[in-house]
């Protein structure tokens, strides 16, 4: 998207004012036309800052251009808002019932049975039955969209309150689909559903001005806790425009990038939400000469050496990265899923240790024989490229800062900005700065399992460890998430091996980036979940908890 640097504009304010002065002379003729209309803008354009209103204006995320149809992807992040899901995750990311009253998984992990509430109505007054659930999953499976139901063999609705899913192979992460896929009504589903969604969620869509805003109102038929806010308006603004809107007092909540965080906005408070929206360095794990699934050159002689990967990991001062690059809004990252239930706390390590790095490198046979400050081993210099998506300032800064830190240990990193397309081709043979972070442990599987070696953006480094694979298979075959958790943790570090730093270290995770929101004074946005990758929509997942904090009046 065409995002233009606001700060660049600020620096040139004085020049700009000069130009504007001239402009106003040149256009003095039309200024008369401007003024009367401008005053009426102030009357109806501003939602005001009164703390008793039950309406909110939010600029928190990009527009779901495809509309509000869960079967083609709406609601994958945050909540579907207009539809409800079978299960959901609370502030602690624990699974809780939503439409479901109970669910069970068969011994072999192939049959999932879900029982539904019997008091749920869609916003048009029609009851929600198991047929609607079956219809939703069938439709999503056939939609050819981002909803991946390729592992679902069949879904049946034996009676009004029961849904039975049959899987092709056991998949404990199937639960994520039950927590994210909003249920659509069979009777009201048609070609224009995405524009006129009907659902059983807390809100219903009143109006969607494409490219501009969506206006939603509380759904009277909603069975759950009612939100304190009757009407919400979601503005679809770029980060720059959202910030400008916040300054102008037009919005109650605006999502902003860290770069804007140092500037005060009158009447608003900055809220930082913890995330697993992480950034980390992916290392090619094979020596040069390997091939990816698409036949592209893969492997790298330097990063395939464990000592290099571990030394890079341990020498990086992650706290310093958070302070310097994220303005303090973030926290160090040691895995792809920090603080999520399936991450292993034992895999956290003490970083920013030059001594440790030197020790590891020396033990690995890396020495600086020619005295140029860069280590060698068997005639190979400890030097590799680190790619990042050009145009992403945060990634660029992280890459440059990391390269500086790693240089102290005698490893030279050449930082290069590339387009997404170039990166994709070069990723198999060069280290790349990527970002992940999901509420679904399937992501861990996709990143580290040898099943997905060299497949698109999955496991680009061609990492493969049979022990890790077997732990993850066990995790997938578990019949519940709790049962799967220990296996996920063991895959990360089981005491002897794993994909953590102590094990094979196929990644050097750097930071988790806080999501920042400017919130109108007095508005309480409740206890937020640890947000996944992707800024914006997740903030709405607990709308029913939002309220005005009366003491702040």
């Amino acid at each position: 998207m065409g995002r233009f640097s606001w700060r660049w504009g600020r620096r040139n304010v004085r020049t700009g004012l000069g130009i504007l002065l001239i402009c106003s002379i040149g256009l003095s003729g039309c200024a008369q036309g401007v003024e009367p209309t401008a005053s009426s803008a102030a009357e109806n354009g501003q939602p005001g800052t009164s703390t008793t209103k039950d309406e909110l204006v939010l600029a928190v995320g990009t527009e779901p251009e495809g509309g509000f149809d869960p079967t083609t992807g709406w609601g994958q992040y945050g909540s579907p808002l207009f539809q409800s899901t079978l299960l959901k995750r609370d502030a602690k990311l624990q699974l809780v019932n939503d439409l479901a009253t109970a669910y069970s998984v068969s011994e072999d992990g192939l049959t999932w049975k879900v029982t539904l509430r019997d008091d749920v109505k869609f916003s048009d007054g029609e009851p929600l039955t198991s047929e609607d659930v079956k219809f939703t999953f069938d439709t999503a499976a056939q939609s050819g969209s981002v909803i991946d139901l390729t592992n679902m063999a069949d879904v049946q609705a034996p009676d009004d309150r029961t849904v039975v899913f049959t899987l092709k192979s056991p998949q404990s992460t199937f639960i994520s689909l039950l927590t994210t896929l909003g249920i659509v009504p069979e009777h009201a589903y048609g070609a224009d559903y995405a524009e006129h969604p009907v659902g059983s969620g807390p809100y219903k869509l009143v109006q969607w001005d494409k490219g501009q805003q969506a206006i939603v109102e509380a759904n009277e038929e909603y069975y759950g806790n009612k939100s304190a806010f009757h009407k919400l308006t979601f503005l679809y603004l770029d980060e720059d425009a959202a910030y400008a809107a916040a300054q102008a007092g037009t919005v109650d909540i605006a999502a902003i990038p860290a770069a804007f965080s140092k500037q005060q906005v009158n009447g608003m408070t900055l809220e930082a939400v913890k995330t697993v929206d992480n950034r980390g360095i992916m290392f090619p794990m094979q020596p040069a000469g390997a091939k990816s699934g698409d036949g592209l050159p893969a492997g790298n002689d330097v990063t395939s050496d464990l000592a290099i990967r571990q030394a890079v990991n341990v020498v990086i001062d992650r706290k310093a990265l958070v302070e310097a690059v994220l303005e303090g809004y973030g926290r160090p990252a040691y895995s792809v899923s920090d603080d999520l239930p399936w991450s292993n706390a034992e895999a956290v390590f003490k970083d920013a240790s030059l001594e440790e790095a030197k020790h590891i490198l020396a033990a690995g046979g890396w020495v600086d024989a020619d005295g140029d400050g860069i280590l060698e081993k068997n005639g190979v210099k400890a030097e590799f490229n680190l790619l990042y998506f050009a145009g992403d300032l945060t990634r660029q800064s992280l890459a440059l800062a990391t390269a500086d830190m790693v240089a102290q240990a005698g490893i030279k990193i050449n930082v290069e900005g590339k387009s997404r397309e170039e990166t994709k081709k070069m990723a198999y043979s060069n280290a790349v700065l990527f970002g992940w972070g999901s509420h679904d442990p399937l992501e861990t599987y996709n990143l580290y399992s040898s099943t997905h070696k060299g497949e698109g953006y999955y496991n680009v480094g061609l990492y493969s460890n049979p022990v890790v694979d077997s732990w993850m298979e066990k995790a997938l075959q578990a019949t519940s998430e709790e049962e799967a958790l220990p296996f996920w943790k063991k895959a990360e570090w089981d005491g002897t091996t794993g994909f953590s730093y102590q094990g094979d270290a196929p990644w050097a995770w750097l930071v988790n980036i806080d999501h920042l929101y400017l919130v109108t004074n007095g508005l309480d946005i409740g206890e937020q979940q640890i947000h996944p990758h992707g800024h914006g929509w997740p903030v709405t997942s607990n709308l029913e908890e939002w309220s005005w904090d009366n003491s702040a009046k």
Partner: protein
């Protein structure tokens, strides 16, 4: 050559050119999109990359016909087009014709206002500068035009946004309608208010070229012998301009103004982006960045027709204003 016949030939000829232009432009755009490094599937999936298995990817390919060869896809598209079907947009999952229609109404008003303002003010400024040549006023106008001509549209847009939207709070910072207002309550006044900043941005930058060209042309005219003669007869100031200058400078100004349709369109893309204004420009950026071939082809054709119309109108106006042109045009 009779008048009516001439017109018919003129229009027929133009239509033929339009059709060939559209065919050429769409085929060329299609080929360029094939060479573009943007992978439409990846663009379609966007940030959800990790959730999509290889199997699912091939389902998406199939759903959007991306597994067919480029030639097949172009033919399918062309066949549908002949039947009046522009196809379905990948990102909006809506018929392309609907999206263009919806967005066109927003953009066209915006561009029309900006175009009229920049034309009128640009012409007036150019005339004033030439008539008061080398005066302080002239230098001021020139300086203003040079500055604007070398200023990026989006930068002006950001400045206006900051000053009028944020600091003064007179005008809304974005969108085409007031936030949170239901469609039946939105008045024309609201729409006008929301259009002011983007339209102002567009017209401010459009003024420069027309003013500078008009100034130059009028300066040439003023140095000619018949002006010297008119001056000798005692004609001065506005009267001199109206009798002897106007006709000479209005034609180039009109041509230039109609020919500026393409810059207008380009400027609208940037201005709409900054002000989150829901016009064609916003859709074009999305379609290009995300490899939405059907939508982009639709928009390319739409803009080609738009620019072509501008040039054709200039031709027609030439013929009406200056009968001498008729023969030249026909030959």
């Amino acid at each position: 050559m009779t008048g009516r016949n001439g017109w018919a030939r003129f229009v027929g000829f133009k239509m033929l050119r339009l059709v060939s232009l559209l065919v050429g432009v769409s085929v060329l755009s299609f080929i360029l999109m094939q060479f573009s490094p943007v992978d439409p599937i990846e663009a379609y999936i966007g940030g959800d990359m990790i959730r999509v298995s290889a199997e699912q990817r091939s389902l998406i390919e199939e759903r959007w016909g991306l597994n067919e060869s480029p030639m097949e896809r172009l033919l399918t598209w062309g066949q549908a087009l002949i039947q009046g079907d522009l196809g379905t947009s990948m990102i909006y999952r809506q018929p392309v014709a609907d999206i263009i229609q919806e967005r066109f109404m927003n953009s066209v008003t915006l561009m029309a206002v900006a175009w009229l303002l920049s034309g009128i003010f640009g012409f007036a400024l150019g005339v004033v500068a030439a008539m008061r040549r080398d005066s302080k006023l002239d230098r001021l106008i020139c300086w203003y035009c040079y500055t604007l001509a070398s200023t990026p549209v989006f930068w002006i847009a950001l400045l206006l946004l900051m000053v009028f939207g944020v600091w003064l709070g007179w005008l809304p910072v974005g969108l085409g309608v007031p936030a949170g207002m239901s469609a039946n309550q939105v008045t024309w006044g609201d729409r006008v208010i929301h259009m002011i900043l983007p339209a102002l941005t567009l017209s401010l930058t459009g003024v420069a070229s027309i003013a500078l060209h008009t100034r130059q042309k009028l300066t040439d005219v003023l140095e000619s012998d018949y002006i010297l003669f008119a001056r000798a007869r005692g004609e001065r100031g506005f009267q001199l301009f109206r009798r002897h200058g106007f006709r000479h400078v209005v034609l180039p100004a009109i041509t230039l103004q109609f020919a500026s349709f393409s810059e207008l369109f380009g400027g609208a893309v940037l201005a709409e982006q900054v002000f989150s204004y829901p016009g064609l420009g916003q859709a074009t950026v999305q379609a290009g960045l995300r490899g939405d071939v059907p939508l982009l082809l639709g928009l390319v054709m739409c803009s080609a027709i738009f620019v072509f119309t501008g040039n054709m109108l200039a031709d027609i106006l030439y013929r009406m204003i200056d009968p001498r042109m008729k023969e030249e045009l026909m030959s």
